[in-house]
C-alpha cells in the first residue's frame, strides 16, 4: 500500500474533492486515514449533533471550510419548536479556541446569535465566506460585526433567513479597505439599507460577481450599481417598480445592456410587470431564473419574458404561471434541468393554477429535466406515468398536491401507480416527496425500485405498518426518512432498529408510535439519540408506555445525548 511517500499520496488526495470519496479514502487503512485527515480542508456535517466540535478539531487540524446543518427538515414547516436546538455558538467557540484557521462557514437551519457572529468575525484572520440558509437568531448587528471585522471577506450570502432587522448601518461597517467582495446577498433583509454605502461598497469591489438586493433598494440605485458592476454574473433585483416612460427607466435599460455576463437572475420582490422589456437583452444568456417571490408577474408579461430565456437550466416560478405558461416553458427552455413551481396562494387550495397538464407539457418539452418541486392543485396517475416515460433522469422528484389526500380526480384512484412508475423509470432517483391519496402499495413499489433513494418525505399516506416496512427493507441507501400523519406504529419502528444506524435520521410525527416503542429503540441502540418532542406537557403527567408520541426524532451520533435540549425534549 505504501509504495509512495506520504507527500505523493497527499497530492493524489488533493484531486479527490467529494466528501463521500474522501470519507471512503480515509477508511482504506491507517496510513491513508492519517494522510487524509491532515490534508482535509472541507468538512460537511449533516447533523450537528452527530459529532462534537472537539472531535472535529482533533481529527482535522487543517480544517478551512465547515458546513453544518442543525434542525430537522420539517422545522422548515413549523413542526419543530423554535428553541429545539441547533445552536452554532459552541462550534464557533470551540473553533476559536483551537488553532483552526477557519475560512468558510456554511450553516443551514441553525440558530445563529449575534454573539456567535461577533465571535466568528474576531477569531479567524483569514475568514472569507459566510453562508446562512434558513437560519434565525441574529440581527443586523451581527452582520455589522462581520462586515467590520472580516478584513478579507469574499462572500456574505444570506438565503431565506429570519433576520431581526434593526435598520442599522451594517453596510456602512465594511471598511474602505474592504475590496475583496465576490458575493453579497442580503435579499432576505426586510429593512432599509444605506444606499450610499451600498453604492460605494460595490464601486470598490472589482471582483463582485454576485449581488442580490432586498426590497429596500429602489430602481435608481439598481441602475447606479449596475453601471459600477457590469461584470456581475448573478443579480437579485429588489424593487422593480417604475414608470416605463421615465428617465430612470431609460437609464436602467442602458445599464442592463452593459451587463453581458449575467447568467442568473432573481428577486423582483416588488415588480411592475409592464417594465420587463428592459430585462429582455440579458434573458438570452440566463441559466437560472428565480421569479418565485414575484407574484405580480404573471399572464402574458410572464410568458413573454420566458420566451426570451432559451438557455434556461433552472427555473423557480410561482403557480400563477399556469399550465399555459408551463407550456411556453416547454416550448422555449429546451435545456431545462430543474423546475420549481411554488404556490402563490398556499391557503386557498382551490385556486392553485397548475395541474397535471402543466407538468406533462414540461416533461414532454424538456427531456433534460432531472429535478422537480411541484405544488399543484391535482395530479393523475396517467400524467405521472407519462412524466416517468418522458423523463427517466429524475434525481429529485417532489410533488405536493395542495390537498394532501386527494386521489386521481379522473379515476378516483390513489396515486400509487403514478409514483410507482416514477420510481421504476427513474433509476437514479435520490430524493422523493409524496402526496395525494396513497396506500401501502406505493411503498411496495418504492421498496422494490428506488434503489438509489436517499431521502423520502411522506405525509398523510399508507394504510398500515407494511408501508414503512417496505421502505426500510427495500431502500438500501436511505439516509433520511421523514414521516408525518401516517398510521405507522411500533411494529414498523421496531422491526429493524439496526437500520437507523445506517441512516442520518428518522422523523415521525402524528403517527402511531408509542412511548414504549421509542424507549425500546433507545435501549437497543445506544448509538442513537431518540428524542421525544412534546410541548403539551402531556409527557410530564402521563408516562404510560402506551401513550402515543406526537413527535419523535432519532439520529445516529458518536457523542451521546446532547446537553442543550429544552425542557419539552426528552432524550430517551
Amino acid at each position: 500500500m505504501n509504495y509512495f511517500p506520504d507527500e505523493v499520496l497527499e497530492h493524489v488526495f488533493d484531486f479527490i474533492t467529494s466528501h463521500k470519496d474522501r470519507n471512503s479514502v480515509s477508511l482504506v487503512c491507517k496510513s491513508w486515514y492519517k494522510i487524509e485527515r491532515y490534508s482535509r480542508q472541507r468538512v460537511f456535517i449533516g447533523n450537528c449533533y452527530s459529532i462534537s466540535p472537539e472531535r472535529l478539531i482533533a481529527r482535522f487540524p487543517g480544517l478551512k471550510s465547515l458546513t453544518l446543518k442543525g434542525k430537522p427538515h420539517f422545522a422548515d414547516f413549523n413542526l419543530v419548536p423554535h428553541d429545539w436546538g441547533g445552536f452554532v455558538y459552541p462550534w464557533i467557540e470551540a473553533l476559536a479556541k483551537s488553532r483552526i484557521g477557519l475560512e468558510e462557514l456554511r450553516l443551514k437551519r441553525m440558530v445563529v446569535s449575534d454573539e456567535s457572529l461577533e465571535l466568528l468575525s474576531k477569531s479567524f484572520v483569514n475568514f472569507k465566506s459566510l453562508v446562512l440558509v434558513s437560519c434565525e437568531g441574529f440581527t443586523t448587528d451581527g452582520l455589522a460585526a462581520i462586515a467590520a471585522n472580516c478584513r478579507f471577506l469574499r462572500e456574505l450570502d444570506l438565503q431565506e433567513n429570519e433576520v431581526d432587522d434593526h435598520r442599522g448601518h451594517w453596510l456602512s461597517c465594511f471598511p474602505e479597505s474592504c475590496t475583496s467582495l465576490i458575493s453579497l446577498n442580503f435579499a432576505c433583509l426586510r429593512g432599509e439599507v444605506n444606499l450610499g454605502a451600498l453604492e460605494r461598497l460595490v464601486s470598490r469591489s472589482p471582483n463582485l460577481k454576485s449581488l442580490r438586493l432586498n426590497r429596500a433598494v429602489p430602481l435608481d440605485t439598481l441602475q447606479k450599481l449596475l453601471m459600477r458592476a457590469p461584470q456581475l454574473v448573478d443579480l437579485g433585483i429588489g424593487s422593480y417598480v417604475h414608470d416605463p416612460f421615465s428617465e430612470a427607466y431609460n437609464k436602467l435599460k442602458i445599464a442592463i445592456q452593459r451587463c453581458k455576463s449575467i447568467r442568473s437572475l432573481s428577486g423582483f420582490l416588488e415588480v411592475a410587470p409592464h417594465c420587463m422589456s428592459a430585462i429582455y437583452p440579458i434573458c438570452g444568456n440566463l441559466t437560472f431564473l428565480n421569479l418565485s417571490y414575484a407574484p405580480g408577474l404573471h399572464g402574458n408579461k410572464l410568458m413573454k419574458l420566458i420566451q426570451h430565456c432559451r438557455k434556461l437550466q433552472r427555473l423557480w416560478i410561482l403557480d400563477c404561471i399556469g399550465d399555459k405558461g408551463l407550456g411556453v416553458v416547454a416550448l422555449t427552455c429546451k435545456e431545462l434541468q430543474e423546475l420549481r413551481v411554488f404556490p402563490s396562494d398556499p391557503f386557498e387550495a382551490g385556486n392553485a393554477a397548475v395541474t397535471e397538464e402543466g407538468l406533462v407539457l414540461v416533461s414532454a418539452g424538456c427531456p433534460k429535466l432531472n429535478s422537480l418541486l411541484y405544488f399543484c392543485q391535482q395530479m393523475t396517475n396517467a400524467a405521472l406515468i407519462t412524466v416517468a416515460k418522458n423523463c427517466p433522469n429524475f434525481i429529485r422528484f417532489r410533488l405536493c398536491i395542495l390537498d394532501p389526500i386527494k386521489p386521481d380526480p379522473v379515476t378516483n384512484q390513489p396515486l400509487d401507480e403514478g409514483f410507482g412508475a416514477i420510481v421504476q423509470s427513474c433509476k437514479g432517483l435520490k430524493r422523493l416527496s409524496l402526496s395525494g391519496l396513497l396506500t401501502d402499495q406505493v411503498f411496495l413499489y418504492i421498496g422494490m425500485y428506488a434503489e438509489q433513494l436517499e431521502m423520502l418525505s411522506i405525509a398523510f399516506a399508507a394504510d398500515s405498518d407494511k408501508g414503512m416496512l417496505y421502505v426500510l427493507n427495500g431502500c438500501k441507501k436511505l439516509r433520511k426518512l421523514e414521516i408525518r400523519d401516517c398510521p405507522f406504529g411500533d411494529a414498523a419502528l421496531l422491526e429493524d432498529v439496526g437500520k437507523y444506524e445506517t441512516m442520518r435520521s428518522l422523523w415521525m410525527s402524528s403517527c402511531e408510535v408509542t412511548l414504549g416503542g421509542c424507549k425500546s429503540v433507545a435501549e437497543k441502540m445506544p448509538s442513537l439519540n431518540v428524542e421525544i418532542i412534546d410541548e403539551s406537557e402531556q409527557m410530564e403527567f402521563n408516562l404510560d408506555d402506551k401513550q402515543k408520541v406526537d413527535k419523535m426524532y432519532l439520529y445516529r451520533t458518536l457523542v451521546g445525548h446532547r446537553k442543550d435540549a429544552p425542557e419539552y425534549v426528552w432524550i430517551l
Binding site: E160, N161, S344, L402, N412, P487
Partner: protein, 183 residues
Amino acid sequence: MVFEKDLNLDATELRLGLPASSKESLRISNKRALPDMNDDSGVAAAKKCDQETAPPTKAQVVGWPPIRSYRKNSLQTKKTEAETSGMYVKVSMDGAPYLRKIDLKVYKGYPELFKALEDMFKFKVGKYSEREGYNGSEFVPTYEDKDGDWMLAGDVPWEMFINACKRLRIVRGSEARGLGCVV
C-alpha cells in the same frame, strides 16, 4: 390541532373523492381525518369541534402545504400590503383653500377617480381625447410623476398611473395646454 381518529360514525360517513362516485368509500380507518380542506373535492370531515367557530372552508393543517416559513411570511406580507396599505396622494386644486388626500387604490380606473374628484371639488373634468387632452372644461387633472414632471392624467394605463403618481393637481384649463407630452 385535533384530528378526529374514529371515522366509522354512521352519521357522518367520511368519503373521499368526487361526490358523484359511490363505488367505494375508501377504507381509511387507520388514517387521521383532515379538517375540511377543499369544498370542491367533496371531503367532509367529522368534526367534534364547534361548527360556529370553524370556518366552512379552507381550514389549515399545521405545516401544510410544506413551504418554508420565510416564503410563507413573504407571501402573507405581500398580500397584506396589497390589501391594506393605501396609495394616498395629495390632491390640490387651483383656487381651493386646502388640499385633500385620496387613496388611489380604491378606484378601479380613471372614470371612478375623476368622478370622485368632481364630487370632492365640485367641477367637471371634460371629455378626454388623445390628441387634445381634455376639452370642454375649465379644469384639467394633472399629476406629478416619479421624475418630478407634471403630466396629464389619463394618457397611460391605470396600473402604470397609480404606480407613477406622486400627487394630483387640478389645474385651470388655460394653464393646462401644453401638457400631455413626455420628456
